[in-house]
C-alpha cells in the first residue's frame, strides 16, 4: 500500500470514527466524543476548575476566610472561564450564550457565573462582606456553579450514564469535598493548626458521603439500562480500567481513606493534608474523565 493510498484510507476512515462505517456507526452503542476527545478535553478541565474554585469559595464562607474566597473566585473565573473559552469554536460570540436561560442549561450556567463574578467581587471588597445575606446568596451560587458541569450533562436524555439521578449529588459533594481539602491546606499553610484539626471531622464526613455517592452512581448506572451498563463496563474493562483502578480506586478512595484514618480524631499534619489534597484532586479528575468518556448513546436500529 503506497502513501497516497494510505492517506486516502485515512481520509475515508479517519481514526476519530467520523468516516463511513455502515456496519458500526450507531448500530452498536456509540461513545460520546464531543465533550471529552480532542478539544473536548478543555471542557473536562473547565468543569473541574469551576467546581473546585466554587467549592473553595463555598467552604471559605463558613470560616469567613477572605483569602479562600479570593482564590476560589479566581480559580472559577480565570481557570474555569478561560478554559471554557478555549473549548469554544467561536469564543468571540460567547456573550450570545446568555440568550436562552429559559431552556439551555449552558446558558443558565453562564448567567450564574456572571452573577457570581459580580457579587463575589463585591463580597471581597466590602468590609463586613461575610454577613448572613451575602453568605447565603453566595453559598447558593457556589452550589449552582459546582453542579453546573454535571447539570449540563445530566439533562442529556440521550446518554443514560449522564442522566442518572446520582450525578448531581455526586457533583455537589465532590465540589464541597475538594473545596474543603483546599481550604484545609490553605489554613495549614497559614499556620492555623487548631482550625485545620477542627476541620478534620468535616473532612471525614464529606469523604464518607463522597464515597457513598461514587458507589451509588456506579450501582445506579449499572441497573439503569443495558446501555448505561455498558458505560460502567467500559470503566471496569478495556483501556480505561487503569484510570478506574488507579485514579478512582487508589487516588480518590484508598489513599484519602488511609490519610483520613491516620489523621482521625484531629491529629492533623500539614504534609499529610497536602498529600491527601493532591490525591483527592487527581481522583476527582479521574472520576470526571471516566463519566464523560464512557457515556454511550443507544444504537439507532
Amino acid at each position: 500500500m503506497n502513501d497516497n493510498h494510505q492517506n486516502l484510507v485515512e481520509t475515508m476512515f479517519p481514526s476519530d470514527g467520523s468516516g463511513i462505517k455502515p456496519y458500526e456507526w450507531m448500530i452498536s452503542p456509540t461513545r460520546q466524543r464531543q465533550w471529552i476527545d480532542e478539544k473536548g478535553i478543555f471542557l473536562w478541565l473547565a468543569f473541574f476548575f469551576s467546581e473546585i474554585g466554587a467549592g473553595l469559595y463555598f467552604m471559605s464562607l463558613f470560616y469567613s476566610f477572605r483569602p479562600g474566597i479570593v482564590i476560589g473566585w479566581l480559580i472559577t473565573l480565570i481557570l474555569g472561564g478561560v478554559i471554557h473559552m478555549l473549548y469554544l469554536g467561536n469564543p468571540k460570540r460567547a456573550w450570545r450564550m446568555l440568550m436562552k436561560p429559559n431552556t439551555s442549561e449552558l446558558s443558565r450556567g453562564i448567567w450564574i457565573i456572571g452573577v457570581f463574578a459580580v457579587l463575589g467581587f463585591l463580597q471581597m471588597i466590602t468590609p463586613g462582606g461575610f454577613n448572613m445575606v451575602f453568605n447565603f446568596i453566595m453559598g447558593i451560587l457556589c452550589l449552582l456553579i459546582i453542579s453546573h458541569g454535571f447539570a449540563t450533562m445530566n439533562v442529556v436524555r440521550a446518554l443514560p450514564a449522564w442522566s442518572s439521578t446520582v450525578v448531581l449529588p455526586l457533583s455537589i459533594i465532590s465540589g464541597i469535598w475538594v473545596g474543603h481539602q483546599l481550604l484545609q491546606l490553605l489554613f495549614a499553610l497559614s499556620g492555623s493548626a487548631t482550625v485545620v484539626s477542627g476541620m478534620e471531622v468535616w473532612a471525614a464526613t464529606f469523604f464518607l458521603i463522597y464515597i457513598l455517592c461514587i458507589g451509588l452512581y456506579a450501582w445506579g448506572t449499572w441497573h439503569m439500562s443495558d446501555v448505561a451498563k455498558i458505560s460502567v463496563k467500559k470503566m471496569l474493562e478495556g483501556d480505561l480500567k487503569r484510570i478506574t483502578y488507579v485514579g478512582v480506586g487508589v487516588l480518590a478512595v484508598l489513599l484519602p481513606l488511609i490519610f483520613t484514618l491516620i489523621m482521625w480524631g484531629g491529629s492533623t499534619n500539614g504534609f499529610l493534608v497536602f498529600l491527601r489534597l493532591a490525591s483527592v484532586l487527581a481522583g476527582d479528575l479521574a472520576i470526571r474523565y471516566l463519566i464523560m468518556k464512557t457515556a454511550v448513546y443507544n444504537p439507532l436500529i
Binding site: T11, P22, M26, Q34, G89, R96, E105, L106, V156, L300
Partner: protein, 218 residues
C-alpha cells in the same frame, strides 16, 4: 404553514447510497462529513438472521433536543418544522451534538475543512467551487437542512415540495426505488400522511420524546 417531513420505506431501500452521495454533492460536503447515512445492521442468528437497512438523516424533531441544548438560539425550529442552524450565532459549544440522540450533527473545524478527496494532491476544482458556493463557517456545527434552499426557492416559484423536483430534497430526488417521500405532515390528505397511516409509520427512538419528522415504514 406546512410542516415538512419524510417517510422512508425500508423495504424498498436497496442501500445504494445514492442519497448519501446526492446529499454530499448538493451541499459540497467535505470528506468524512455526511448529512445522510445508510445504517446496515443484522438481527437474529443464522439461519434466521435478517438484515436491517435504515437510511438516516436529521429527524427535524418537533421537540428537538438540539434546540433545547443550544445556549445561543443558533439552532432553531423554523415555522415549517425544519430544524435549522444560524451559523452567525453558533459558538461551537457542541451541546447540540451531545444532546442529539440520533448523532446527526458534525462539527466543522480546520481539520474537517482541510480534508481533501485526493489527499496530498490539493483540492479539486469542485471542492474549491463548493467552498465558495456553499461556505460553512469554521467552528460551527453543520447538519442536514432538508435542502431548505431548494424547498424555499421552489415554493417561491409556486412549486410543491415533494412533487416537483426543484422544490424537493436531493436525497428524495435521487432515490432510484422511490423509497423516500417528502411532504407536509400537517396536511391530512398528503401522500406522506397516507403512508404513515396505512403502513403504521414509526419514528426512530421515540422514547426520547423528540417527535421526529422522519418516519419509517416497511
Amino acid at each position: 404553514m406546512p410542516r415538512w417531513g419524510m417517510v422512508i420505506d425500508v423495504k424498498r431501500c436497496i442501500a445504494c447510497w445514492g442519497c448519501t452521495i446526492a446529499c454530499k454533492e448538493e451541499h459540497f460536503l467535505p470528506p468524512g462529513v455526511f448529512f445522510n447515512r445508510v445504517l446496515i445492521g443484522e438481527t437474529g442468528k443464522f439461519p434466521t438472521s435478517s438484515k436491517l437497512i435504515y437510511p438516516v438523516l436529521c429527524n427535524h424533531c418537533e421537540d428537538a433536543a438540539c434546540v433545547e441544548a443550544c445556549p445561543t438560539g443558533a439552532t432553531y425550529v423554523r415555522e415549517d418544522g425544519i430544524v435549522a442552524i444560524d451559523d452567525t450565532k453558533c459558538v461551537g459549544c457542541r451541546a447540540c451534538m451531545v444532546a442529539c440522540p440520533y448523532q446527526q450533527r458534525t462539527y466543522y473545524d480546520e481539520k474537517t475543512k482541510n480534508r481533501e478527496f485526493f489527499p496530498g494532491q490539493g483540492k479539486t476544482e469542485m471542492e474549491t467551487i463548493g467552498e465558495k458556493l456553499y461556505p460553512f463557517k469554521l467552528g460551527t456545527v453543520i447538519k442536514c437542512n432538508f435542502c431548505s434552499e431548494r424547498v424555499d426557492e421552489g415554493m417561491k416559484k409556486g412549486l410543491t415540495p415533494g412533487k416537483d423536483e426543484d422544490a424537493t430534497p436531493a436525497c428524495v430526488n435521487i432515490c432510484p426505488v422511490g423509497a423516500r417521500v417528502f411532504g407536509d405532515l400537517d396536511d391530512p390528505n398528503s401522500e406522506i400522511n397516507r403512508l404513515i397511516m396505512e403502513k403504521k409509520g414509526k419514528q426512530l427512538r421515540k422514547e426520547f420524546g423528540t417527535e421526529p419528522a422522519v418516519y419509517y415504514i416497511d
